[in-house]
Every structure is written in C-alpha cells, then in structure tokens.
C-alpha cells in the first residue's frame, strides 16, 4: 500500500504547461486506487474542465466573436461530429488497438447513404445504409485484425486508403447535393427550438457508451483485452469476437457522425472527414486513455473532444491558416503521449 501512495504523490511536481498538467492530474487520479474503469476521477474531470475554461477565457479575450451565440453553436455542432467518432475510437484504443480509418470510413459511408437517398428517396433506408456501411468497413478491419492477425495500425491504415478510394469512386469525386429535409433536421434541427439534435445524439451515444464501458460484459472484456489479451483469452473471453465488435462499433459511429455532418452542410463530400482520425485520436488521448489499452474513460473523451474542437475553432476565428490546424492537432497528440510516456518511465 505504501507503494501505491507514493505512486499517487509522485508526478505532481513537474509542470510544463497547461495540457501537461491535465495529463498528470488525470494519471494521478487513476494510477492508484481507482483502476480507471469507472467514469473519470474527480481530479481528472476538474483539471480537464479547468483547461477548457482557460482555453475559452483566452480565446474570448483574443476574439470578441468567440462568445457569440453563432460561434458557440458552431463549436457544439463541430464537437458533435468529433465526439461521436471519438467515442468509437475510445473503445478501439481501450482494447489496445487503433483505428486510423475513421475519417475515410466517415466519408465513404456518407457517400453510400447519399447515393441510396438519391436513387430511392427513402430517408430511413439512406440513414440505415450509412451506418451499416460504416459498420461493414469496421467489420472488415476487425476481421483482418482478429482473424488474420494484421496489426491494427496496418489494417486500418489500409482501410483508410480503401474507404477513401471507394468514396471517390462511388461518387465520381463529385459532392452529392439535394439532401432530404430529414438529413438537415438531424444536422441542424433543434428539439423544442432549444436543444440541437446533434447534441442530443452525442448525449445518447455517450450515455450508451458509458453503460457499455461500465455495466456490460462487452465493455469489461474490452478493458481486459486492452490490459492483457493473453490473460483475457486464458480466462475464457472470446478475444476474437470482442475485438471485431470494437471495430464494428467504430465504423458504425463514424457513419453516424457523417449523417450529422451531411445534414449540417447540406451536402455529402467524398473528400470529407479528412484528418478526422487525428482529431478523434486527439480527443481520446487528451482524455487520458492509454494508447497501450486497458486504461481510460469514455466520459473523458467527450471533454477531450470539446477541447480539440475548441482549439480548432479558436485557430479559425483567430484567422490562422487552416493548414496550420493539422500541425497543431498533430503536435497536441504527440505532446499528450510524450508527456504520458515520460511520466510512466519515471
């Protein structure tokens, strides 16, 4: 027990900037007594919210536009898309894998849904086609990983190319216009004229995600496999099935997110979702989920997604060249992981 206490107190000292503190407080919260399976610990949650508050304050001071209703709505909607993709990515990363294909799967399933709508005019069918196709692509990655033992990094990198190519081939590279009003309601509508529909969907996804992670056998097995897949297998867990399930879910959620974006923009872009994998993985790692699997929290990913989106939005309204956003996103992910690694080694 002494060991635990010392572990908890170690690592509170160094601070190299706001983001880093988050990681440290977060890990102090979970390293010891809590196994990190439940929601996020109090320290972790508070510190992430503090970061978010500071971020908002700074951006509010730098730009009078930041706190306008329009911009806050913009952040909310952008967050929705990333948060939903990141929810699936969280489970993948908790299981010890990674899904690099979410951005391309996002685009490809949107195109398939858009084409179904174009040819049938049937909205429910189009929506079902979108999420099913996303799930199908996820299933393919999952089979490659769990049955053929292709490393997740490679399987989903390949899937990224395949899905992006399919999106461009199926649509001939041309955006699909004239989406149904129903699409627009999902992307832009408000329930009782107050709550944006995308936000409702996010809440639903995260409530279900929380239950899945903490109250279901599947969720528990994801943690177990991510922590030690051999021990999980020897305990009678069907590692193959759970692994496949995780990638199916990630594909499904990428498809779901693409419906919101299509509704928001009013078109389906075959080149859409570019770089979303970076944002989604960024949201997960900023939320403190370990890239080695087995440790992390789904709720923290939601806050991570808000942080990622805020940074992106802030760069936009400050007039920073859009190309720099990739640089910033990449840097944020690398920094978060480098700090985490540094802390583990000490």
């Amino acid at each position: 027990m002494k060991q635990v206490e010392s572990d908890q107190t170690s690592g509170t000292s160094s601070s190299t900037g706001a983001l880093f503190d988050i990681k440290q407080l977060r890990s102090n919260g979970t390293a010891g007594v809590s196994s990190g399976i439940r929601g996020l610990s109090r320290n972790q949650g508070v510190s992430m919210l503090v970061i978010l508050g500071v971020l908002w304050l700074v951006l509010g001071l730098l730009s009078p536009y930041f706190f306008t209703v329009d911009n806050i709505m913009e952040i909310t909607l952008q967050t929705a898309v990333i948060a939903i993709i990141a929810a699936g990515e969280t489970f993948v990363i908790l299981s010890g894998g990674i899904d690099l294909s979410v951005g391309a799967v996002f685009a490809c399933s949107a195109v398939v849904g858009g084409l179904v709508l174009e040819s049938t005019g049937n909205l429910p069918l189009a929506l079902a086609a979108t999420v099913s196709f996303g799930a199908l692509l996820g299933l393919t990655s999952g089979l490659l990983i769990a049955k053929l033992y292709v490393p997740p990094f490679i399987a989903t990198l390949g899937m990224m190319g395949v899905a992006r190519g399919l999106a461009l081939i199926l649509s001939s590279g041309i955006p699909i216009y004239g989406l149904d009003e129903g699409y627009k309601f999902i992307g832009q509508g408000k329930l009782f004229d107050v709550i944006p529909v995308p936000t409702l969907i996010v809440l639903l996804v995260y409530i279900l995600g929380y239950i899945l992670a903490n109250r279901t056998r599947f969720g528990r097995f994801v943690y177990a496999i991510g922590s030690n897949s051999e021990a999980a297998r020897l305990s009678g867990i069907n590692v193959t099935r759970v692994t496949i399930g995780v990638y199916v879910m990630s594909g499904f959620l990428a498809g779901l997110a693409s419906i919101i974006e299509a509704g928001r923009l009013g078109i389906v872009q075959p080149a859409g979702g570019n770089g979303y994998e970076l944002l989604a993985i960024g949201a997960v790692v900023i939320g403190g989920t370990s890239l080695f699997g087995g440790e992390g929290s789904i709720i923290a990913t939601l806050i991570g997604a808000i942080i990622v989106t805020t940074i992106r939005n802030g760069l936009n309204i400050l007039g920073v060249n859009a190309f720099w956003q990739y640089v910033v996103n990449g840097t944020v992910i690398i920094t978060a992981i480098a700090v985490d690694q540094y802390r583990r080694r000490r």
Binding site: T216, N228, E230, A231, R233, L234
Partner: protein
Amino acid sequence: MAKLLTMEGMTKSFFGVKVLKDVDFDLEYGEVHVLLGENGAGKSTLMKILSGAYQTDSGSISLNGDKLNLSSYDPKTAEDHGIVTVYQNFHLIPHLSVAENLAMPIFTRERGLIRWKDVYVHADEVLDKINYEIDPRARVRDLPVSQKQMLEIAIALSKNAQVLIMDEPTAALSRNETEILFQAIADIKARNIGIIYISHKLEEVKQIGDRVTVLRDGTKIATLASKEANLDEIVRLMIGKELSSSQQAREVSFDGDLFRVEGLMSTYLSAPISFAVRKKEILGITGLVGSGKTELARAIFGVDRLSGGSVYLEEHPVHIDSPETAVKLGLGYLPEDRDSDGLCLNLGVKENISMVLLSKLKGLLFSTASEKRTVSRIVQSMDIKAAGLSQQVKYLSGGNKQKVVFGKWLSGGCTLLILDEPTIGIDVGARGEIYSLIREFVAEGEDRAVIFISSDIPEILDVTDRILVMSGGSLVAELDPKGATKQEIMQHSLRGRRAVE
C-alpha cells in the same frame, strides 16, 4: 604450476537472501569440470559472477595465478580475460548468413562500406578453430541445432577463450549431435582450454567430465573425480539428506474419473499422453524444466492445438479447441507466469477476479452489485490484502497476486483446476495459504479435482495424492507420494531423458 582458474569464497545475496555461500571452485588447464545442482542451487549465480554479470559480495578470483581486480569486473573485462560463455543460440541473428553473424564485431567496429572479402576471410579464420564444416554462406536459420551450437562454440573460441562456460549444451541435441559436440570438446581440451560444463544429464559426468562439483542451496557440497563418482551418490548429494514424506494422510476416497485424456498429442509433446484425474484428487505432475509439464497443461486447456487424442469429462467425450471452451466446461488454468498470462495488471482486483465469472455469463448487461458481492466474499475468504477492490493488481505482492488469479477461478465456479507452478516466486507463508486453498477447493465439492504442476519436489510430495513424472515430453512414471522419495522422483526425471533418447 598455478591453476587456470580459482574462485574462492564466492558469496552473493539478493535482497538479504544468500543464494551463494562461500563457494570455492577451480579449473585446471584442459579440464572439463561439470557443475551439478538442482534449479536454484546457485549454479547460474556462480557462473554469472564468473562472466561478470553479477559482482560477488566477497572472495577472490584468480586466472593463471593472477588475482583479478573484482571492483571493476564486468562482462567486458571477463571476455577480455578469455572467460567466455557459449550461448544457446541467443546470440545469432537467424536470417543473416553464418559469415555475417561472425562479422558482427567488424560491423560494429568499422565505419563505412562493408568489405565482403574481409568478412569471408574472417569467417574462415573463426570456423577453422573448430574441426567441423559449416558453410559460411548458409543462413543461420537453415542450420540444424547442432551446427548452430558449433557456431556458438567457434564464436566463443574466436574471442581467445581460456575458460569456456557451457550451460546445458546438449539439451536440444540428438544422440549423434551430442557425439559431435563431445568430439569438439575433446579438441578444445587438447588446446589447454578449461571448460565449465553445466548439465542435468548425469551420465555426461562420466562421459566427458574430469571432475564434478555439486552445489546445493548455494553451498558447495562436494568436488569429486568423475571416474570415482557414483551416479546414485551424486543424486543424493544434489538433493541433500533423504526427506521422509511428510504427507498428512488425507482420508479421501476417490470415486470415478473426473477428467481423462487418452493418447493426447501436440506439437510440443514427444509421445502420446494418457492419464486420468479422479474426483476429489490432487494430481501432481512434476519433471525438470523443459520436460513438457507446461506444454501438457496448455494442450489440455486448449491453448496449444491438439494433434490427436481424446478428452473425457465425467466420462463424456469433450472437444476443447480453445480456452473459451475449456472455461465453459469448468476447467481453470493458473499459468506459470502469472504477470504475463494470468492477470490484467492495470485493472483492479475486482475486475480480475470477476473475469471468469463474466466470461461464463450470457447477455450484455451484468449486475455490478452482485459482482461486487461475489468479489468481496472471495477477497475476504481468501484474505487478499489490497487497498480496495479497485486497487490495480500490479501493486500487490506475489502471493496476493496469485490469490487473485486463484480467486478468479473460484468465482467462476470451475471444477478442474490446472495449476502450473502456483508457488513460484511466492514466500513461504503465502505458499502455505495457497496449499490450503488447493485442499479446500477439492474438499468443497464432490466433482472437483486439481492438477498440480510443479518442479518443486518437496511440495509435490507434500500436497498431492498421486504423482506423475514427466521427462522429455512424455510421462515416465506414476508414483504414490506416501511411499515415494525425492530421490526416486529425481531419478525418474533425470533418467527418463536417457530412456527417451
């Protein structure tokens, strides 16, 4: 004339435990000195001191009569002095050629482009040191084991060896290959090089040894001339005074087989294996390291694929093709390496213990409240010391970790537990608790049994109702612990190999 090597008063403690106590050892020029002892007797510690991997706590080492400076003694200086260990293929890079492997020192020393002519000249020089043909252009992974071994010896000799340390060099060799190795050893002796030869094969003491030293519990027991040594005498020296069996009479009647395997075969077993475990029985399986005990356990549990044989549970034929099936049938497996195969180290005590329970349930949701109740009950009854049910298991002591693995199977309600070295790395007190848990487990149900795998013979004698001895991948003996002695088991383990060859 001074001796080639003299080690005096070698002592080594780890964390306050003395693993080597004032051991003297010497080596003549051109001598093969065999080092014998059970696992943990101190052989490898002594050799690691000699090769510079460990520093001795006291004593002195002299080479050619000159005292070595032990304060700055490390693997590099040991090799500079010509004290070289022959590795068991650990050193070779399989997909490179023999010549490329031999040229590694050149590659690391010299910058710029590789001069291939030099590489092959160097290879020929090294291979000339052994009287044995190896094609320098052959890829190492294509070589038979014996040739790899020869290659290792050639590499060792190329380092201007005066003292060669060989650790179980014949473990993986066939009879013919062993003959070739012994010829090579004879050649090396003729060049006045001394060889320290560690082996479990007693007959080799007679075949190639000049002298033999026996270690036990970190102490040197005796050094004998090989010609005068008697093998039974050596076994007695290795295991110490005859322990009378301390088995507490367990008055149990075993009615019927719980589990039976017939003609079980897998890639890792050398012969088909048949045995049965009776209800309420603790069946012991013992043997030396590499005898196939773990492989048998893994084959039964569906971890490694079976290539033949049939398995019966309560007289019903069952087909176990994966651990998942095994668990569903009520089997449990406590792996030898609990950290890497038995536990999810960064998950909590609760998550680890409930794992088997959950894997047996159906449906998506489960009751976290009843999970908590079950786990609390197990933690309490097993007296697992943790800061809480959510404490990550990586912070627990070895004994408590093992209890968590045990608890995982108890919570899952399994009937046949396969325990692979359940007390390895666990202190004496916790061992006792593990033994009681095993006894309680079989006592608490009618249809329960335990397969207890261990290379610790006293514990096998103490805990089990019946003992199977494995050697070289097959079953070689069945014994009753009440009458059996440690010496008898040791002889079966050691001699079985010879029988297999």
